[in-house]
């Protein structure tokens, strides 16, 4: 097991009104098998022992499925490892003595709460506006009661892998939420269960996306490249298609 030293520059900002800045912390003797968040835990213990304010960062599952560990690491959402969330990023991806920069997502609809934590409730409001299906209450439906072609099941499942972390917005030059919104629209538009609200869903969700102030899509594809769940940009084509059809 290797032990490494890192110079971690973390964005410190006490509130949304405050102007933040990078603060440099040097951590030596780090276990290279630690995750990036565990490294921040070690740093926070140190800060607390020294009587300083610990770094605020969001985390929950720490197994790459909840999407809360949002942070920009060296200019990439969730850091340099492809298809990996920050909580699953291990320090062996860095070299001894590396300079590391950590800052929050930057987008108007993601206001900074403190340090690395941003308010992503704009995503919640988009989901509330239409990212659901009507179901009959009662006992669980029989499996395979509705036959679904394998191709569609796969496409829907791939879209459903989106964890709503916001990396697409963070990495987009326009701060566009198109990849997130399109994945949520496509996963339901492809399946028969999503059909009853198909039209109203796409109209309402895009309406909400616009209200929240996200930017437009230039189809550059950086979102797809940076997405920890490798959501395909073809979902955006699907969303555009659904939106155009719903308006005809």
């Amino acid at each position: 097991m290797k032990r490494i030293k890192l110079n971690v520059n973390v964005w410190r900002q006490s509130s949304n009104e405050d102007v933040g800045k990078f603060v440099k912390y040097t951590l030596s003797d780090l276990n290279s098998h630690m995750s990036f968040l565990e490294m921040l835990d070690v740093l926070n213990e140190k800060l607390i022992e020294e009587g300083n304010n610990p770094i605020s960062f969001e985390h929950d599952c720490r197994e790459g499925i909840c999407g809360s560990c949002s942070m920009m690491i060296n200019g990439e959402p969730h850091g340099p490892q492809k298809a990996t969330t920050a909580c699953q990023l291990h320090l062996f991806n860095f070299r001894d003595g590396d300079e590391v920069y950590v800052e929050p997502w930057r987008a108007k609809p993601f206001p900074i709460i403190k340090d690395l934590v941003v308010d992503r409730s704009s995503f919640d409001r988009i989901i509330q506006s239409g990212g659901y299906v009507s179901v009959n209450t009662g006992s669980a439906p029989d499996g395979n009661a509705i036959p679904i072609p394998q191709k569609d099941a796969k496409l829907a499942f791939d879209a459903a892998a989106c964890i709503g972390c916001g990396a697409c917005v963070a990495s987009c030059k326009n701060a566009s939420a198109s990849l997130f919104v399109s994945a949520k629209i496509a996963q339901l538009a492809i399946l028969p269960q999503g059909n009853p609200e198909r039209k109203s869903r796409v109209i309402n969700m895009i309406n909400q996306m616009e209200e929240e102030g996200f930017g437009h899509c230039t189809n550059t594809g950086n979102c797809e490249a940076q997405c920890p769940k490798e959501i395909s940009i073809s979902n955006i084509e699907k969303m555009n298609q659904e939106y155009i059809k719903a308006n005809l």
């Binding site: 200019g75 930057r106 102030g213 437009h216």
Partner: protein
């Protein structure tokens, strides 16, 4: 909450850009085919330009349409670019990695360059052609005039540069507009990929060759 209509949303505005962009691509193709007659000599080119005089009303209608197309494209380009800036009022403080293509990241830069070129282009060739009555001198204005025509090497360089920027703009723009139209069928996409080469490479290359040939190479021979 008020429901936004199609063209009030960024998707609708982008759709207008894609539509107008593609229409303009077809205009460029026709324009190039016209210009290639320069290689057939003065008589062919002059005859072609004069023949357009006979369908003047139609040409005027098409010009107005082109103007509407261009204004719609440019207005939405600036609107969306401005809006996306306001979606990220305070940017990142560290160096951001963006692996997308240069042409896709520089659409506004290539677009504005094309616009500046268009102003020069319409302010010279187009404006002069409107007022020329002698149908035998069109060819000479284009190939020999040493202020506005390719007799001026600076003009030739400007036209060559503009061709490159149009190529860059369409390298991303042509295929991108079909994504905006929502065409997600894999087989269709493969065809679009191929057709795109005509618009982002062959057409701009044709314009490039014309300006390089008449403005520079011919003089050196």
């Amino acid at each position: 909450m008020k429901k936004l209509s199609l063209f009030q949303t960024t998707i609708g505005k982008k759709l207008l850009m894609a539509l107008t962009g593609i229409l303009f691509c077809f205009f460029l193709l026709v324009h190039l085919l016209n210009n290639l007659t320069l290689f057939l000599g003065p008589d062919s080119f002059n005859a072609l330009v004069s023949s357009l005089e006979y369908i003047k009303p139609l040409i005027r209608v098409l010009e107005v349409l082109l103007l509407i197309i261009l204004v719609t494209h440019i207005y939405n380009a600036f609107f969306l670019s401005y809006k996306s800036k306001s979606s990220r009022p305070s940017g990142y403080s560290s160096q951001i990695k963006d692996s997308s293509t240069i042409s896709s990241k520089t659409m506004l830069i290539s677009g504005v360059t094309i616009l500046l070129f268009l102003v020069v282009h319409l302010g010279t060739f187009w404006r002069i052609f409107q007022s020329v009555d002698d149908h035998s001198i069109y060819y000479d204005i284009v190939t020999k005039n040493n202020i506005v025509g390719f007799g001026n090497p600076l003009i030739a360089v400007l036209y060559m540069a503009a061709s490159i920027f149009i190529g860059m703009h369409l390298k991303h723009g042509f295929e991108s507009s079909f994504k905006t139209f929502g065409i997600s069928n894999v087989r269709t996409k493969n065809i679009i990929n191929k057709v795109a080469i005509l618009f982002w490479f062959v057409v701009p290359f044709g314009f490039f060759v014309i300006s390089a040939w008449f403005g520079i190479i011919k003089g050196l021979l």
